[in-house]
C-alpha cells in the first residue's frame, strides 16, 4: 500500500517533470526539471531496493553531470530558445516515432518468455526483497569484476578515449598567456629579487 502510493507519486513526478523538461522554454529551468526527474527515478529505484543504483544516479547525474550542464547553460545565457518553428512541423513525426517505440517496447515486455512476466505475478514489494545483510553494492561489484570484467575494462577505455578526444579537440595552446610556476615562486630567494648596487659617491663639482 505505502509502496504503491510512493511509486505512483514519484512516477508521476518523474513523468511530469520529464514532460516539462522538453516543453519549458528556458533552458535553465529545463535542466532543473531534468534534475527533478532524476530524483524521482532514484526514489523508484530505492523502492526496488537497488540503493546503490539510486544513490549513484543522484551522485553522478544530479551531483556532477547536471551541475556541469547547468554551468554551461548559465554561461551561454540562452535565455529564450529562439524559434519554436521546428516543433509543430516535426511534431507528427515525433509522435509517430514515439508510438512505434512504445509499441515495440510493449511488445518486447509483453512476450511470454522474455523473462519480464515474472514481475506481473508478484506484487511490487516482494519482487525484489532480499535477505538480511544483502548488499546491493557488493553484489554489483562482484558481477562487474568477475562476469563482466572484460566489458567493464573496455568501458573504462571508452571513457579514457572520450577524455582524450574532448581535450584534444577543445584545448588550444595560447602562446601569449603567461603562466605562473608555483615551484619557482616558492623557491624564490631574496637574493634573486633584490640586487644591491654600490654606487660610488660622486664629489660635488
Amino acid at each position: 500500500m505505502t509502496e504503491a502510493i510512493i511509486f505512483y507519486l514519484f512516477s508521476t513526478v518523474a513523468v511530469v517533470s520529464a514532460l516539462m523538461m522538453i516543453s519549458v522554454r528556458n533552458p535553465v529551468r529545463a535542466a532543473f526539471y531534468l534534475v527533478l526527474s532524476f530524483f524521482a527515478s532514484a526514489i523508484i529505484w530505492l523502492l526496488l531496493q537497488a540503493e546503490f543504483l539510486a544513490i549513484v544516479l543522484v551522485l553522478v547525474y544530479v551531483g556532477a553531470v547536471m551541475v556541469l550542464f547547468l554551468f554551461v547553460v548559465m554561461m551561454l545565457d540562452l535565455n529564450i530558445v529562439e524559434k519554436e518553428s521546428g516543433f509543430t512541423r516535426y511534431f507528427p513525426i515525433g509522435i509517430m516515432l514515439a508510438a512505434i517505440t512504445f509499441f515495440s517496447i510493449y511488445y518486447v515486455l509483453g512476450q511470454k518468455e522474455s523473462g519480464m512476466d515474472v514481475f506481473q505475478s508478484q506484487p511490487l514489494s516482494t519482487a525484489a526483497s532480499h535477505v538480511e545483510g544483502y548488499s546491493n553494492t557488493k553484489e554489483l561489484g562482484k558481477l562487474l569484476y568477475s562476469e563482466y570484467v572484460y566489458a567493464f575494462e573496455i568501458a573504462a577505455m571508452l571513457l579514457l578515449v572520450a577524455i582524450v578526444a574532448a581535450i584534444s579537440l577543445t584545448y588550444r595552446r595560447r602562446p601569449k598567456t603567461r603562466h605562473q610556476n608555483p615551484d619557482l615562486q616558492v623557491s624564490a630567494r631574496h637574493e634573486d629579487r633584490i640586487r644591491i648596487v654600490k654606487i660610488p659617491v660622486e664629489e660635488r663639482k
Partner: protein
C-alpha cells in the same frame, strides 16, 4: 526512551506511529545540531578574536553567551527582500535546498554503535550524494537572484565543489577499501583496538585530502572565493536578507560540523577511545577514558572544527586558478596513488588494518 514513545503512541495506526517516531528522532537529532551551529558561530567569533588579539562579542549576556540568540532574533525580524525580476520561486527554493541537503546528510551519521537515525548499507555513498546535491542551493541562489555577482559566485562555487568532490570521493574509496564496508557504523567498528588501529595512520594522505577538500566543499576560507567579499561582494547570497540569508549561514555551519564528524568517524575512530585496550587505564579509576563513548566523537569533531576556524584566521584566500590546480593536479593524483598503495598494503596484509 523509545519504549516510552511507542507506548504513548500505541493508540495510533502503525504507519502513523512509525512516522511520528521518525519525526521525533529527527527532532532529537536536529535541535542539538542547530544549537551547535548557533554556538559554533559564537565560538568562531571568539576564537578568531583571540587569535587576532581582540575580545570578540562580549556585550549580550555574560561574556556574550547570548550573542547567537540575539543574532537569530534579529535575523528573524528582518525583511526578506526579493530583487526585481528575480525568479521568486527558485529564489526562495535555494536556501531550502541548501539547508535540506545539509541536514538530510545527518540521517546516516552514527553517534555510537546503536545511536543512528538510519542504518543504511550505502551510508558513505548517501553522504557523498547529499553533499554533492547541496551545490544546487548555491547554483539556484546565484541564478535566481538576477545579479551579476551572485551569478559569478554560483559559477565559481559549482566548479569548485564539483572539482573537490572527485578528490573527496577518491579519499572515501580508500576508506571503503580499508573497512570493506559503506556503512559508517561498520567503518568505526573496523577501527576498534586503540589509536594504533585508526585509519588515520594507513590513510594519512587521504585524511589530509579529505579534510582540505571538506574545507573547500563548504566554501570556507581559504577556499571562499565563492563569497569573495573583496571582488563579488558576498557571492551567491548577496541578494538575500533576513531569514533567507541566515538559512544559508546555517547550512554552511551544519556542513562544517558534518565534515568534521565524518572525518572523525572515518579516520579518527569515531566514538572509540584512543586508549582502548590499555590495561593500566582500564584497571584504574580513569577507566571511563578507555571506553568508547559519544564524548570522544564530539571531542574529535570539536578539534577538527577548531581547525576550520584556525584556517580562517591564518590563511590568505587562494586565487581561483590555484584552487583548481590544487584540486586537480595535487589532490586527485595523491588519492589515486594512495588507493594503489592501499591495494598493495591489502595484498601484503600490512599492520592491524589489513589483516583479516
Amino acid at each position: 526512551m523509545l519504549d516510552l514513545l511507542y507506548s504513548l503512541t500505541s493508540f495510533l495506526p502503525e504507519s502513523l506511529q512509525t512516522i511520528i517516531i521518525i519525526l521525533v528522532k529527527i527532532a532529537v537529532l536536529l535541535i542539538p545540531l542547530l544549537l551547535g551551529v548557533a554556538y559554533l558561530t559564537y565560538a568562531e567569533r571568539k576564537i578568531i578574536g583571540y587569535m587576532q588579539v581582540r575580545i570578540g562579542p562580549n556585550r549580550v549576556g555574560p561574556r556574550g553567551w547570548l550573542q547567537p540568540i540575539a543574532d537569530a532574533v534579529k535575523l528573524m525580524f528582518k525583511e526578506i527582500v526579493i530583487p526585481n525580476f528575480a525568479n521568486k520561486f527558485l529564489f526562495l527554493l535555494a536556501p531550502v535546498l541548501s539547508i535540506g541537503t545539509a541536514l538530510a546528510a545527518w540521517a546516516v551519521v552514527p553517534f555510537n554503535a546503536e545511536l543512528v537515525l538510519a542504518d543504511v548499507n550505502a551510508g558513505l555513498l548517501y553522504i557523498l550524494a547529499m553533499t554533492s546535491v547541496g551545490v544546487y542551493g548555491v547554483i539556484i541562489a546565484g541564478w535566481a537572484s538576477n545579479s551579476k555577482y551572485a551569478m559569478l559566485s554560483a559559477l565559481r562555487a559549482s566548479a569548485q565543489i564539483v572539482s573537490y568532490e572527485i578528490a573527496m570521493g577518491f579519499a572515501l574509496v580508500g576508506v571503503l577499501m580499508a573497512s570493506r564496508s559503506l556503512n559508517l557504523g561498520d567503518i568505526v567498528i573496523g577501527q576498534s583496538g586503540g589509536i594504533y588501529h585508526w585509519y588515520l595512520l594507513p590513510l594519512f594522505p587521504l585524511f589530509v585530502v579529505y579534510f582540505i577538500s571538506g574545507v573547500a566543499e563548504t566554501n570556507r576560507a581559504p577556499f571562499d572565493v565563492a563569497e569573495g567579499e573583496s571582488e563579488i561582494v558576498a557571492g551567491f547570497h548577496v541578494e538575500y536578507s533576513g531569514m533567507a540569508f541566515s538559512i544559508f549561514f546555517l547550512a554552511e555551519y551544519a556542513n562544517m560540523i558534518l565534515i568534521s564528524m565524518l572525518a572523525s568517524l572515518m579516520f579518527l575512530g569515531g566514538w572509540l577511545s584512543p586508549f582502548e585496550g590499555i590495561e593500566i587505564i582500564q584497571n584504574s579509576s580513569l577507566a571511563f577514558i578507555g571506553t568508547a563513548s559519544i564524548g570522544w566523537l564530539l571531542a574529535k569533531a570539536a578539534f577538527l572544527l577548531l581547525l576550520f576556524l584556525w584556517f580562517r584566521a591564518t590563511f590568505p584566500r587562494y586565487r581561483y586558478d590555484q584552487i583548481m590546480r590544487l584540486g586537480w593536479k595535487v589532490f586527485i593524483p595523491i588519492t589515486i596513488v594512495w588507493i594503489f598503495v592501499i591495494g598493495l598494503m591489502y595484498y601484503w596484509q600490512i599492520g592491524p588494518w589489513f589483516t583479516h
